[in-house]
């Protein structure tokens, strides 16, 4: 039925990202912005943007501009609907996509109650290594690629579910997508410092104005690192000092970091941590 059909070739081709994007947008009422699609499909912003462009050109995805924000949804044509249903499998079109396991960098699923933002799940697992390189690619013109960790260097263990499920994490949906530059710089910082920390590093999050999508051009890039424990604060600063200074110089921005213990990240209810948990975006 679909033989020699260019549209079918596009969908059934070798790009698993393309298929995942179509699966993410399987529900006709699902309308998402690029960042959310990228997160749910478990790919980089650049790859998601490229594949979305192809799918829009093929008439399988519709693009909608609303103010400064661009949204994507599955096209309502019979062919598009049929292809999406074939990819997603039986019953998928009737199910709630937010309740389905959707690939993330950590292989975890977003919470059903957070359809617009995946919970911050640190992608520090070895299984996420391949994707972390892809995710670290520049997401904006002029950015330089992240330096991937050297082969054989220590990587953190897979993040505990407890880190992802800290109280209040992503309990409130921010109105704007995270700042691309902030995400890129945070990813580059993560790539630089992971080898130094190994299994001590339990999570890396972008927070602050850039996580909320409210950044000015000169806003700091605020990064929060969850460690197994924090004893001498200056030791943690020292481990990340060169990477922060290099990135700050290269980008003419202040890359700021704060360290919290796993216990504080999970349990602390005072100060700014509860608010940060809500806005934090996992790197």
């Amino acid at each position: 039925m679909f033989e020699n059909n260019a549209t079918t070739d596009l969908v059934m081709g070798r790009s698993s990202v393309r298929r995942r994007i179509l699966t993410v947008l399987a529900q006709p009422e699902t309308r998402l912005h690029l960042r959310e699609i990228q997160r749910r499909a478990g790919t980089s912003p650049g790859t998601a943007s490229r594949e979305l462009g192809r799918l829009v050109a093929a008439g399988l995805i519709e693009r909608e501009a609303e103010g400064n924000q661009v949204y994507f949804r599955g096209a309502s044509t019979p062919l598009a609907t049929m292809l999406r249903s074939l990819l997603a499998g039986p019953g998928t079109l009737r199910s709630n996509p937010a309740a389905r396991p959707v690939p993330t960098a950590a292989g975890a699923s977003p919470r059903p109650s957070q359809p617009h933002r995946s919970p911050p799940i640190a992608s520090t697992s070895a299984s996420g290594a391949a994707q972390s390189d892809e995710r670290a690619k520049p997401a904006h013109p002029g950015a330089t690629s992240a330096t991937p960790p050297a082969a054989g260097t220590a990587r953190a263990e897979p993040p505990s579910q407890a880190i992802a499920e800290a109280p209040d994490v992503a309990a409130t949906v921010p109105t704007s997508p995270p700042d691309e530059l902030g995400l890129t710089i945070a990813a580059r910082l993560a790539a630089r410092i992971r080898p130094s920390y190994g299994s001590r590093l339990l999570g890396i999050f972008l927070y602050g104005a850039r996580a909320r999508g409210e950044a000015r051009p000169d806003s700091n890039v605020d990064v929060l690192l969850v460690l197994d424990h924090v004893d001498r604060y200056c030791d943690e600063l020292g481990l990340t000092s060169a990477a922060c200074a290099d990135l700050s110089q290269e980008e003419s921005l202040v890359v700021s970091r704060v360290f919290v213990s796993e216990t504080a990240w999970r349990n602390r209810a005072d100060g700014q941590l509860p608010a940060i948990r809500k806005e934090a975006v996992a790197i």
Binding site: N220, Y233, L237, C244, A245, S252, L253, L273
Partner: protein, 127 residues
Amino acid sequence: MTPRGAQLLEDADRTIASARDELETQGAAVAAQSASAAMLTLAQACLEVDGLAPTSPPAICVAYGERFARTRRLYSVYFRWLLDSADLGRASSGQIASSIDSDSAATAVERAEIFRDAVELFLEKNG
């Protein structure tokens, strides 16, 4: 050395002296914040040589990085110390990070003292 440069250096001197006292009397968090303020004041003194007068901490850090770390006019590790002290100062508020240990605060004060001497030399030669 310009009058403003001399004034900034004097301000930094006083803040570092306060930080030393605070280590003993008021605790690590207060001392760390004073050390951070001193580092920023010293960076401002350097920028004064170039006729720049940024006031916000991020603007001071960025301008210092561009003018002095990138160009190696001053030892690049001072830029790291500037950023480290700024982050330690923020952490010392206790709003995000847990309590700051006294070793870290003492390290920040010592670094401010070393940076202060370097800046004084720089200003004498260039200011």
